[in-house]
Subunit: 188 residues, 2 copies
């Protein structure tokens, strides 16, 4: 049960974004820019970064939601599953592996990111902006995961909920999430 | 030396906010709402939450900057110093102690926030919104600290730099930080 009164039909982050709409607006905007804005990383690749960080923070709602979004965007479920077990054996590019290894350190502490990890990413073709965005996406999901779990929001157990959410995150992105709320009412 | 090319005269977060202005805008807006917007917590109290989380994340730039801001807002330097050693012996209200103890858990993981910590905060007079904002401020500084250290930004060593920054954060808040950049150029 959430620690503060949230609308019962809005689990996980969705209830928090409704609880305080003025803080929700910039959070949504930042997420939309980073995960759906113009980038040399695909939307699927960026959702994999979000998935990895949420998984390592053990945030079940965020992990399941962004796994679903990544799977929908990638058109398969293998990569997100393998990534959680071992970044370096996941079927992604060497560049993305290098970026995911940076994200994995950011999840623990910014101070854990080493010059060697950065050098490796650059050698695998990562641009400065891709490195920047990887660090900021990883940091953003450290915010989300703490926000969602720190207020003890509800975590649905029905896989259909997350599949529907993943489809909506592909179709609508993050700015327009409120428009998906009508659907959420039917899938608590 | 930063891992990506940042303007040399803009240390810590300031260079990152200049590097990608489209992501900087919502980050600034969120910070302005949470730390300077209308609230039953004073600006000084909210800066203490930011200080505690940054300190525990060992982010020297953010810790020193928000310590300076808190000190300027509170008009003294004792509280921020004592807080870092022991929350419960700091000269703050019982309500703020309870909220700071929640923030300290959020710094580690959202999952560490217990119903007992929330109950204690409510018993000490904390409102739902204060609890919400405490969790979100703590989560936001987990983002900032990782962003600043994960890209290896420059940390000035001159206390005068942070004192000047603290004064500007009191006078201008976060949305208007860019207007302080002219001053920063003289205090690297």
């Amino acid at each position: 049960m959430p620690f503060i009164p949230l609308e019962e039909h809005l689990p996980g982050i969705t209830g928090l974004l409704e609880y305080r709409k003025d803080t929700a607006a910039p959070i949504r905007e930042l997420t939309q820019i980073l995960l759906r804005g113009p980038s040399s990383l695909t939307e699927g690749e960026r959702e994999l970064i979000a998935t990895l960080v949420s998984y390592r923070n053990e945030c079940t709602f965020c992990t399941t939601a962004h796994t679903a979004a990544a799977n929908v965007l990638l058109g398969e479920e293998t990569t997100s599953a393998m990534l959680k077990q071992d970044i370096n054996s996941a079927p992604v590019s060497e560049k993305l592996k290098a970026l995911l290894n940076i994200a994995a350190q950011v999840q623990q502490s910014g101070k854990n990111v080493t010059a060697d990890l950065i050098q490796n990413a650059k050698e695998k073709g990562a641009t400065d902006l891709e490195i920047h965005d990887t660090v900021l996406i990883a940091a953003l999901f450290c915010l989300y995961n703490r926000y969602v779990d720190g207020l003890s929001t509800v975590t649905p157990t029905d896989p259909a909920f997350y599949n529907g959410l993943g489809e909506r995150l592909k179709a609508n992105g993050y700015n327009r999430l409120p428009q998906g709320y009508d659907h959420l009412k039917n899938k608590p």
